[in-house]
C-alpha cells in the first residue's frame, strides 16, 4: 500500500477584498480609495475591510467635498458624491487624517468601522521616505537626492535617499514627515505645521506633484 500524505487544506480565505475607485474621481474619492488601499496592503483593519457591509458617506468639515464608500464584504467601491440614504455619514477633517469633527450620523458601528479603515497607522518616517522616493522617481524634474531630518522624542535623525547632484532637504517632526511621505498629510499644508524645506522653488513645485502622487494618486 502506498504511503499517503495528508495535506492540510489551507485555511478558508475570507472574502478577497479589493478597492475600486470610479474613473475620473475627485481628490477626496482618490484620497479615500488610496487610504483604503494602503490599509488593505498593510493588513490594517483586515476584519473590518473583509466583513463590513454598508454605505458610508465621508464629508469634509470645511469644504463641499464628499465621497461614498460602499462596503460589501468583498469589493469596496469608492465614488465621488453622496449616495442617498447611506448607512452612516461621517464629517471629518481631511487635513487631520480623517479626524472626526462631529458625531457620526446613522449606524454608529458602521461609521466606526469606516473610520478605522481610513486611519491606517503611518509607517516609520524612514520607511515612508524610502517608499515615497521610489514611487516618485518618474516625475520630471524630481531631485536626485532627498535629505531628511526627522525630529522625534529622542532628538534628530537624518537619512539620505537616492544619489545624484540635485538635492532636496526636508525637516520636521518625525510623525508629520511620515505622514507626508505616506500620503496621509499634504505637503503644502504641513509647511504651516512646522515642516521646513531646503531647495529651489521649482523643486518645491515638483515635490508638490510628488506629494499629490502619493496622497491622491494623480
Amino acid at each position: 500500500m502506498a504511503a499517503t500524505t495528508t495535506i492540510t487544506a489551507p485555511p478558508t480565505r475570507p472574502g478577497v477584498v479589493r478597492v475600486v475607485s470610479e474613473d475620473d474621481a475627485t481628490p477626496l474619492a482618490r484620497l479615500v480609495g488610496r487610504t483604503l488601499q494602503q490599509a488593505l496592503h498593510s493588513g490594517h483593519a483586515q476584519e473590518v475591510l473583509e466583513t463590513t457591509v454598508g454605505t458610508v458617506v465621508v464629508r469634509s468639515h470645511d469644504t463641499p467635498q464628499v465621497a461614498t464608500i460602499a462596503f460589501s464584504g468583498g469589493t469596496i467601491d469608492v465614488a465621488s458624491g453622496a449616495q442617498p440614504e447611506p448607512g452612516a455619514t461621517v464629517v471629518v477633517d481631511l487635513n487631520a487624517r480623517f479626524a472626526l469633527t462631529q458625531e457620526p450620523e446613522g449606524d454608529g458601528v458602521l461609521a466606526a468601522a469606516a473610520l478605522q479603515a481610513l486611519t491606517p497607522p503611518v509607517p516609520h518616517w524612514r520607511e515612508a521616505a524610502r517608499r515615497f522616493w521610489a514611487a516618485t522617481r518618474e516625475i520630471p524634474g524630481i531631485p536626485d537626492v532627498l535629505v531628511v531630518e526627522a525630529v522625534g522624542p529622542d532628538g534628530s535623525e537624518h537619512d539620505r535617499f537616492g544619489e545624484g547632484t540635485t538635492t532636496y532637504g526636508i525637516a520636521g517632526p518625525a510623525d508629520l514627515l511620515a505622514g507626508i511621505f505616506s500620503g496621509a498629510d499634504d505637503l503644502l499644508v504641513s509647511l504651516a505645521a512646522g515642516v521646513r524645506i531646503q531647495g529651489t522653488l521649482s523643486q518645491l513645485s515638483v515635490m508638490t506633484a510628488a506629494s499629490w502622487k502619493v496622497r491622491f494618486d494623480v
Binding site: 475620473d24 475627485t26 481628490p27 477626496l28 469644504t63 463641499p64 467635498q65 464628499v66 465621488s80 458624491g81 481631511l94 516625475i139 520630471p140 524634474g141 524630481i142 503644502l188 529651489t200 522653488l201 521649482s202 518645491l204 513645485s205 515638483v206 508638490t208 506633484a209 499629490w212 491622491f216 494623480v218
Partner: protein, 451 residues
C-alpha cells in the same frame, strides 16, 4: 515729465505695457514716457511669477519649472511698437511679448506661441486669416455691487428674457454696445457686427478677420474695452463660460488659409485638399486641445447637448451642431469655424491651438474622419464619434498624451499647462468648489472678473 505724444493729439503722460498671462488675463503696468523710451527696444522686466499665479493669487505648484524660471526670475516684456495706440487722452497702450535673457521667446508666452506657428505656416507659403465671435454677458449692477453680492443674483442688462437677433433690447444695453464699438473704433480695432445673443444680457461681438497675431491683440483688448466701458457706465460684464447657471458662452474662431492671395480652403466641389487636411488635424488634436480652449472648471459646465456648444469630436459642412463647421464653395468665404472654445479662453492660446491643428493636418497629411451629416449632439456610442472630454481632468490627460500638440506647442508649454490645470482642479475641489452645484459660489468668485 511729459513729452510730445506719438500716437495721438494729446500729451503722453504714460504708456501701458500689456500682455496676457497664461490664464488670458491682460496684465501690464503703466510706465512714464521717459521709462518707455529707455526700454522700448530692450524690454521691461516682468517677474515670471505672472505665469505662476492662479486666479486666486496663489503660486501654482506641480510642475518642474525650467531653468529660466528659477526662483522667480525676471523675464523681459518687449513691446511690439506696431501695436502702440493712444488708449485714451494721455495714455498710450502697447502690447508685447515675453523673452528670455538669451533672446529666445519664453516658451509659454501666449503671443510668441502664435507668432511661431504663423512663421511655420509661412514656411509652407501660407498666410492665415482669422476672426472671432466674442460672447459676453452684461449685468445692470456695477462691479462693486457684483463683488458685494459674490457675483450672484445679478440683473441681466437689457431685460431678463433671452433672445437672439432681437432688436427690442432696452436702451441701456444698446447704449453699452454703442459705447463699446465707439471705443473699438478709437483704438483701431476692426469689428464687423454685434447683436444680442441667446441668454439674458448676453451679447456677441464679431472681430473682423485679420492675421492671427493681430486677432489675439484685438481680442484681448476688446475684452479690456468691454470691461472699461462697463465700469464707466456703472455696469459689469463677464466672460465666464457660464456666468449664471443658465446659458453658456463661447468664442468661435474662423480661419482660412491663403497662398498668393488665393483662398486655399476653396474648391469648386466642396473641400479643398488643404481644407480636408486642416479638418483632419483639428479633429486629431481636439481632445487634447480641449484642455486649452476650455481652461477653467466652469468651462465644462457649458458642454450640454442641444444648447449650442459642440459635445462631440466632429465636423460637418455647414453643420453648426459639430465642433468644426466647414463653410465651403466660395472663393472668398470658404473657411473653418472652430466652435469649441469658451468665452473664458486665453485668446492667443485658442488661436495657437487652431493653428497647431491646421499645421499638423497639412504637414502630416491627416485625412479627416467622415463628416457628421446628422445632428452631432447626443450621438450614441455606436456612431463611432467620440465625446469631447467633459471634465478638466479628462481633458488634461488627453493633452498630456497628445503627441501632435506636444510637437506643435512644445513639451514645455504642454507640461506647464497640464500641471496648471491639475492645480486648478485641485484648488476647486479642496478649497470650496462644489461639483454638484449648478454653478458654485467658488467659481463665481474666481472666474467672474477674469480673464
Amino acid at each position: 515729465m511729459s513729452e510730445t505724444a506719438t500716437t495721438g493729439t494729446t500729451v503722453r503722460k504714460a504708456v501701458r505695457l500689456e500682455a496676457t498671462n497664461h490664464e488670458g488675463s491682460l496684465l501690464g503696468k503703466n510706465v512714464s514716457p521717459a521709462k518707455f523710451e529707455a526700454g522700448k527696444e530692450s524690454g521691461f522686466a516682468f517677474a515670471d511669477i505672472l505665469f505662476a499665479i492662479d486666479l486666486g493669487n496663489e503660486i501654482v505648484f506641480g510642475d518642474a519649472f525650467p531653468e529660466w524660471r528659477g526662483n522667480l526670475y525676471d523675464i523681459a516684456m518687449v513691446p511690439d511698437l506696431t501695436t502702440l495706440v493712444e488708449w485714451k487722452p494721455g495714455l498710450d497702450s502697447v502690447i508685447g511679448d515675453y523673452w528670455l535673457k538669451d533672446g529666445r521667446p519664453v516658451p509659454i508666452c501666449p503671443r510668441n506661441l502664435v507668432k511661431g506657428l504663423v512663421a511655420r505656416l509661412a514656411g509652407h507659403g501660407y498666410t492665415a486669416t482669422a476672426a472671432v465671435e466674442i460672447e459676453a454677458t452684461l449685468f445692470e449692477e456695477s462691479v462693486q455691487e457684483a463683488r458685494a453680492r459674490g457675483y450672484r443674483d445679478l440683473t441681466p442688462l437689457g431685460g431678463s428674457t433671452g433672445a437672439t437677433y432681437h432688436l427690442a433690447r432696452s436702451s441701456d444695453w444698446v447704449s453699452y454696445m454703442e459705447a463699446v464699438v465707439d471705443r473699438l473704433d478709437e483704438v483701431g480695432i476692426g469689428w464687423e457686427a454685434w447683436t444680442d445673443e441667446a441668454a439674458p444680457g448676453q451679447t456677441e461681438l464679431n472681430i473682423a478677420p485679420t492675421d492671427p497675431v493681430r486677432l489675439g491683440d484685438s481680442w484681448a483688448r476688446t475684452r479690456q474695452v468691454m470691461r472699461e466701458v462697463a465700469h464707466e457706465l456703472g455696469h459689469t460684464v463677464s466672460f465666464m463660460a457660464k456666468p449664471t447657471a443658465g446659458f453658456g458662452q463661447g468664442a468661435h474662431i474662423n480661419i482660412s488659409l491663403q497662398s498668393d492671395g488665393v483662398n486655399q480652403f476653396f474648391a469648386e466641389d466642396g473641400l479643398s485638399e488643404v481644407m480636408g487636411h486642416a479638418v483632419g488635424g483639428l479633429l486629431a488634436t481636439m481632445a487634447g486641445a480641449t484642455s486649452i480652449v476650455m481652461p477653467q472648471i466652469t468651462s465644462y459646465r457649458r458642454l450640454v447637448d442641444l444648447t449650442g456648444p459642440p459635445t462631440t469630436i466632429s465636423w460637418g459642412v455647414n453643420n453648426k451642431t459639430a465642433a468644426v463647421r466647414a463653410i465651403t464653395g466660395h472663393p472668398k468665404y470658404s473657411r473653418l469655424e472652430y466652435r469649441l472654445p469658451g468665452a473664458d479662453v486665453n485668446p492667443y492660446f485658442a488661436i495657437a491651438v487652431v493653428l497647431a491643428g491646421v499645421l499638423a493636418g497639412i504637414e502630416k497629411q491627416i485625412e479627416p474622419p467622415a463628416q457628421v451629416t446628422d445632428m452631432a449632439w447626443a450621438l450614441p456610442d455606436s456612431s463611432g464619434v467620440e465625446r469631447i472630454p467633459d471634465t478638466m481632468s479628462k481633458a488634461g490627460a488627453a493633452l498630456a498624451a497628445d503627441p501632435l500638440l506636444r510637437e506643435y506647442l512644445g513639451d514645455e508649454f504642454v507640461d506647464f499647462w497640464v500641471a496648471s490645470r491639475r492645480w486648478e482642479w485641485m484648488e476647486f475641489h479642496t478649497k470650496g468648489g462644489d461639483p454638484l452645484a449648478e454653478l458654485s459660489a467658488w467659481e463665481s468668485r474666481r472666474y467672474f472678473e477674469f480673464p
